[in-house]
């Protein structure tokens, strides 16, 4: 059955949806209809993805689903869609989780005046991300990459009247552009050297290229990945991106867009493997981001910023997995992370809603008693992230950490374990501060202040659990279930679940299966040791956090210097501002205030003034005196006569 045209539907339907919704917004169609249109488009794209995956499974391991779309006439430069194991894996998560978030947004954004615009932009994002992961070459991937950046800009700055949101959107776009430059340069080098930009042409040839070319390409591509995936040192845009609506944070900055860098590294793994600096650089970036993200999350007090740094850290794990050659583990972690991180963000939306827009976790508390549904979903998400068995995160994180050990990198393994401990600490801190203890109203009442305020608040229903609307509940429930059972989809034979060995193959890149199989989690003692260590550090970290921030917590003391530094992102923002932003602004100011009016305008105006001056001089010839004109005429005649007389 030739279903190649299905591939077009995956990006095409959301694109069509975006266009229709945008048109409908102009024409003031019914808002609920437009939201339903957006959700349906993504749902159908998901169905198409499933069908493509099934077709791929039937054709594997030799075939893949391919649909060439457009050629620019230059050899090797063209656009097409490819459905193989990696791309369909990503596409399933993108469209699946994307659909769930569309459903959630239909309820969450219902009060927003620009409701239809949100769905148009969200659909556009799904289109762009699908193009990115389904492309059959670097051209298509770059197109998707750039459009995803635009979508991110549009969605972070959705509430564009807010200056903070507009600034955050611009910052995200600029930092991403830095990486994109690297990506484009890498593509140019590849085109120059391999003569083509299709994966099928470039990747098999990677082993035969000279080392310096490979190193250059690998580092340039990595630059793009680092920017898009908010890894060290180009991570600064991600915490600010939390200015966008919470569903946007869930979809783009947790589940899908930030993983585009991981997709790039895994897709181009032959280049990274063949380049001597390739995989080590990836692993270094990964472990650096794991630790930095975890440490910075310790000092954050905004619930979304904690989750943002947590995303940076977890994507670091994915990069680490790719950097040690455990590609299937990295992709596995990508999927499970999408589930529980989206769950956490959507849950954070419920929390923020309940506290009336407050996002500072120091001012929260006691949600566990009044909102059991939020309590349990957030708890499961947290535990999945921390990596408690049998939840999803345990298997995927384990696979990566064991992979590091079995690839012969004990230092990376140890640091990854440390990172897991830190993860447990900051996540339990978050959970405890938000859900345990007394609600802020009760705490204020106990402190003796505002008895009347507390009574009024109770009257107004603040803090009282409202029934969760089904559109919000269903995605949360589905994501919770996926966070619980997601681990079994790609579970290696440790669990004895039938088909587990098959699962390890689910995400493996085709040509690499034999090597990967050797690195998949086995019953060796190394694996057992790792599991034990990870569990130990998680329990210790979580326990410490619960003790410090749990129900019987002492009132907040002054923050230590380290925590303050962590809260400020270890001053990366300030550094970039001083080194890049201020000089650039000064230069722009100089150009705008000095060069533009004086030099350029001066030159243009000067030419005009010269013309005016000259013409002012020349116009005196037209004096109006007829006799003077006659004299000029006669003088000319005399000159001509003299000339002729002399010539003859």
């Amino acid at each position: 059955m030739e279903y190649n045209w299905l591939l077009i539907l995956i990006p095409g339907l959301p694109l069509l949806g975006a266009a229709l919704i945008a048109a409908g917004a102009q024409g003031r169609w019914n808002r609920s209809f437009l939201a339903a249109l957006g959700c349906t488009a993504v749902f159908l794209a998901f169905v198409a993805t499933v069908l493509v995956r099934l077709q791929y499974n039937a054709a594997a391991p030799f075939g893949s689903v391919h649909m060439p779309l457009w050629s620019w006439g230059v050899d090797g430069v063209g656009l097409g869609l490819l459905g193989d194991s990696i791309s369909t894996w990503f596409a399933l998560v993108v469209t699946g989780v994307g659909f769930l978030i569309h459903l959630y947004s239909a309820a969450y954004m219902a009060d927003d005046p620009s409701y239809p615009r949100f769905f148009a932009k969200l659909n556009f994002f799904i289109f762009a991300m699908s193009v990115l992961v389904l492309a059959d070459g670097f051209v298509g991937m770059l197109i998707g990459w750039a459009n995803v950046g635009v979508a991110s800009y549009l969605l972070i700055g959705f509430w564009h009247a807010r200056p903070a949101a507009a600034a955050a959107a611009k910052k995200a776009y600029w930092v991403n552009t830095v990486g994109e430059i690297g990506l484009i340069l890498g593509a140019i080098v590849m085109l120059q050297h391999f003569g083509s930009l299709y994966f099928a042409d470039v990747l098999p040839q990677a082993w035969f290229a000279p080392q310096n070319v490979l190193n250059a390409v690998a580092l340039l591509l990595l630059a793009g990945a680092v920017a898009k995936s908010a890894q060290l040192p180009l991570h600064v845009w991600l915490p600010d991106a939390m200015q966008g609506p919470t569903p946007v944070s869930a979809l783009i900055h947790a589940a899908t867009m930030v993983t585009a860098g991981v997709y790039l590294v895994v897709r181009a793994y032959p280049i990274f493997e063949a380049a001597p600096w390739g995989l080590p650089a990836v692993a270094l970036v990964g472990i650096g981001s794991v630790l930095f993200g975890a440490l910075a999350a310790l000092g954050q007090n905004d619930i979304k910023r904690v989750l943002a740094f947590s995303t940076m850290s977890q994507v670091g794990y994915m990069m680490l997995g790719a950097g040690v050659g455990a590609y299937s583990a990295a992709l596995f972690h990508f999927a499970t992370h999408a589930f529980f991180k989206a769950l956490l963000f959507l849950g954070a939306g419920v929390v923020i809603h309940r506290f009336g827009g407050e996002q500072d976790i120091r001012k929260m508390g006691g949600l566990g008693k009044s909102h059991p549904f939020a309590y349990w979903t957030f708890l499961i998400g947290t535990l999945a992230l921390v990596g408690l068995p049998p939840l999803a995160g345990f298997y995927s994180k384990d696979a990566i950490v064991v992979g590091a050990l079995m690839a012969g990198r004990p230092w990376l393994w140890a640091l990854a374990v440390v990172g897991a401990g830190l993860t447990a600490f900051y996540m339990m801190r978050l959970f405890a501060l938000v859900f345990t203890g007394d609600s802020p109203e009760v705490a204020a009442f106990q402190r003796g202040e505002g008895a009347r305020k507390a009574a009024a608040a109770a009257e107004a229903g603040v803090g009282r659990s409202r029934p969760v609307p089904p559109l919000k509940m269903v995605p949360l429930v589905v994501l919770t279930l996926l966070s619980i059972v997601g681990g079994f989809f790609a579970m290696p034979d440790l669990s004895g679940v039938p088909g587990a060995a098959e699962g390890a193959r689910l995400a493996a890149p085709p040509a690499h299966e034999a090597a990967v199989a050797g690195r998949v989690l086995t019953k060796s003692s190394a694996a057992t040791l790792t599991i034990a260590l990870l569990l130990a550090v998680s329990v210790i970290g979580g326990g410490l956090a619960l003790q410090r921030f749990g129900p019987k917590r002492a009132p907040q003391t002054a923050e230590s210097g380290f925590v303050k530094a962590a809260g400020a992102g270890f001053y990366f923002d300030d550094f970039y501002r001083a080194v890049f932003v201020r000089p650039l602004r000064a230069t722009a100011g100089f150009v705008g205030d000095v060069t533009e009016p004086h030099v350029i305008d001066g030159a243009v105006n000067g030419v005009a003034r010269l013309a005016a001056t000259l013409s002012g001089a020349v116009r005196r010839v037209q004096s109006g005196y007829v006799r003077r004109y006659a004299l000029a005429l006669m003088a000319g005649v005399a000159v001509v006569l003299i000339y002729f007389v002399l010539m003859v």
Binding site: R620, Q622, G624, A630, M634
Partner: protein
Amino acid sequence: MPGFAIEGYVIVSVVLFALGIAGVLVRRSPLVMLMAIELMWGAAALLFLAFARQFALMDGHVFSFLILVVGAAEAAIGLGLIVLLFRAREAVDVDEVRELRG
């Protein structure tokens, strides 16, 4: 005709032409300037006829007729303009009619 001396005719023509130029440049009444221009036409016609006589060609005679006709037309128009000018202002001094300038 025996002893036709063309030099005389040329000299007379040149002198008349110069007088005409002088008249245009020096006089300030438009009417007199017009007359000086007509004088220049006449000088040119004289030259044409002299050379026509010299080389026994009819071209010079034809051209002098042309000059007469064109001179008549020009005089008509010029005089019409001068009449209009006289109607607009009393004393006409060509130096005072200088609105058309830069």
